[in-house]
Amino acid sequence: MAAQNEPLILETTTAPPTPLREFWSYFSDNPGAVGGLVVLFVIVLLAIFADVISPHSPIATHDDAFLKPPFWEEGGTLTYPLGTDAIGRDMLSRIIHGTRYSLLIGSIVVLISLTLGVVIGLTAGFFQGVVGILIMRLMDVILTIPGLLLAIVIVAILGPGLTNAMISVAIVYLPYFVRITRAAVIGELAKDYVTASRVNGASTPRLMFMTVLPNCLAPLIVQATLSFSAGIIDAAALGFLGLGAQPPTPEWGTMLADSREFVLRAWWVVTLPGLAILITVLAGNLMGDGLRDALDPRLKR
């Protein structure tokens, strides 16, 4: 029996690794990427259990504690481990609850621009005539205007608020997804498997979404991760300018805007929300870089 098993074992060891396993072996070789993944995982946990972990309500004000410093500073107490803001709200609770907004903002921005970008990009790739040219010219115009400026303009039209801020940031990132999808589609269209599918009578929507799209996913995943980070920063910037989430929402950018006037008196109300943004965005970027290295076949071996 043992002799019979031997060739079988040999066979499994020489078989090529599945794409997922191969991807993971590249990804896990990159300590930064794994670190980013772990940090993001912790942030997701914080967001899910925000109500349980937070010592106080994020919007409750405490009349006896205005601008209390963190516990390690003179005058700080463990009741408010990271201090309180100008109207006596617990900083730690607000920052923990802020994870919900940042994750939500990043995800929704990516969801909108990825979905729209893929559909528009596929269209531009499949119909390369007038439609394709018009689409790409429009995307060029969007790219000409710096992202934040465009986001500001769109929010100015739609009106300030978290929803409109997310929509405007999503529009800003749209051209990147459109370009990537279109470039990938044009690259794939010339290949034999597409021709074969076409000859077999596949309809255009089927060709677009079922045949070609799955082969264009790698660059889109990378772009989605990087846009997740950038979206968090840009939405926070809008919040900072008073155009995004409105007070008393514990969104980190809005918290920074609220506390700007105390920058010279109470460093913690300014430093901590920004640090939270930096950590989240850095984790996202580290993971995005790792994904790119693991998914980009040009860099392999």
């Binding site: 115009v141 934040l148 400026l149 926070a236 300018l241 920004g274 930096l278 965005v281």
Partner: protein, 336 residues
């Protein structure tokens, strides 16, 4: 070469039309009647409303209104600010040098630090220095610059007391504008303390705005340099006994710089966007600050004109980068 320049120039036209369409629609998409916004709280009688509607041409079909708007734009007439009643183009012209001064200094800061950091990191690959540069640049790239600006204020203005918190120059100096760049103008005026004041006002916003380009340039230089250092002609240069400094500084750098220059050019656009936040934090009197004020005061002509002008400037900058790129890299020029 002429053909290359010509096609690039032609391509700019649809982009410009797109920008004007966007800014035109901007005002028309804003909820509410533009005339009521113009009139403010005084309100309008129905007869006066109809009169104004006709006077501003708002009763004509949309495409005609657009053509009229386009005509005004091409003649340089961008309308008046609702608040100051000054022509938009004049306000922009007055404030723009401050933004350019800030953006150029930020870019200079980024290039001066980023290029050497990237080159050394590439040459000493996997050294402590390399890891340090990569770590710092990834952090810089992830930095929310509005927060970074506030941190700089806490550290340098508040704790150390080295630099002022806002503005371009202390109020007591009255510098004759020659170039519009206060740093140069104050140096030209011969007043050393004025120059020092201008410099100390510039330094924090410059660092805040220059951090992201610095991170990008350092990373880009490093990876571009690494790629070039692996090429055969570098091995040849080394083999024929050239000094390492000569090989890296002349042979490798010349080719490694091409993608870096493109990135620098493309980042000029982002700098204007970054300037919106930086100018707001440091109360820097440039177009970014002006634009944010325009939004807060619902001064739509300022928003419309400002976006159009900034968009056009960036369009021209991108075109110049494109042409420059074609000049230094023949492969691009001859590609169809």
């Amino acid at each position: 070469m002429l053909r290359f320049i010509f096609t690039r120039l032609i391509l700019i036209i649809p982009t410009f039309i797109g920008i004007t369409l966007l800014t035109f629609l901007l005002v028309h998409a804003v909820p509410g009647d533009p005339l009521e916004i113009l009139a403010g709280e005084r309100g309008l009688s129905a007869a006066r409303h109809a009169l104004l509607l006709h006077a501003y041409g708002l009763d004509r079909p949309l495409y005609l209104q657009y053509l009229i708007y386009m005509g005004h734009v091409l003649r340089g007439d961008l309308g008046l600010s609702l608040i100051t009643h000054a022509p938009i183009i004049d306000e922009f012209r007055q404030l723009f040098p401050a933004t350019v001064e800030l953006s150029l200094s930020a870019m200079l800061f980024a290039v001066v630090l980023g290029l050497p950091a990237g080159i050394i990191a590439a040459v000493k690959r996997n050294s402590v220095f390399d890891h340090g540069v990569m770590g710092v640049s990834l952090t810089g790239y992830s930095m929310p610059i509005f927060w970074w600006g506030l941190l700089l204020i806490i550290l340098f203005s508040n704790t150390l007391g080295w630099t002022p918190v806002s503005g371009r120059i202390a109020a007591e100096y009255d510098i004759e504008p020659v170039t519009g760049f206060l740093l140069i103008d104050s140096a030209l005026s011969g007043d050393q303390s004025a120059f020092r004041s201008a410099l100390s006002h510039l330094i924090l916003p410059m660092i805040a705005l220059g951090t992201i380009p610095l991170a990008v340039i350092a990373r880009m230089t490093r990876s571009s340099m690494l790629e070039v250092l692996g090429e055969d002609y570098i091995r040849t240069a080394r083999a024929k006994g050239l000094s390492p400094f000569f090989v890296v500084g002349v042979h490798a750098l010349r080719n490694a710089l091409i993608p870096v220059i493109t990135v620098i050019g493309l980042y000029v656009g982002s700098l204007f966007a970054g300037a919106i936040l930086t100018e707001t934090i440091f109360s820097w009197p440039g177009v970014g600050h002006w634009l944010v004020e325009g939004i807060n005061r619902r001064d739509y002509p300022v928003l419309q004109g400002g976006v159009l002008l900034i968009g056009s400037v960036i369009m021209v900058v991108n075109l110049s980068v494109d042409l420059l790129y074609g000049l230094i890299n023949p492969r691009i020029r001859h590609r169809r």
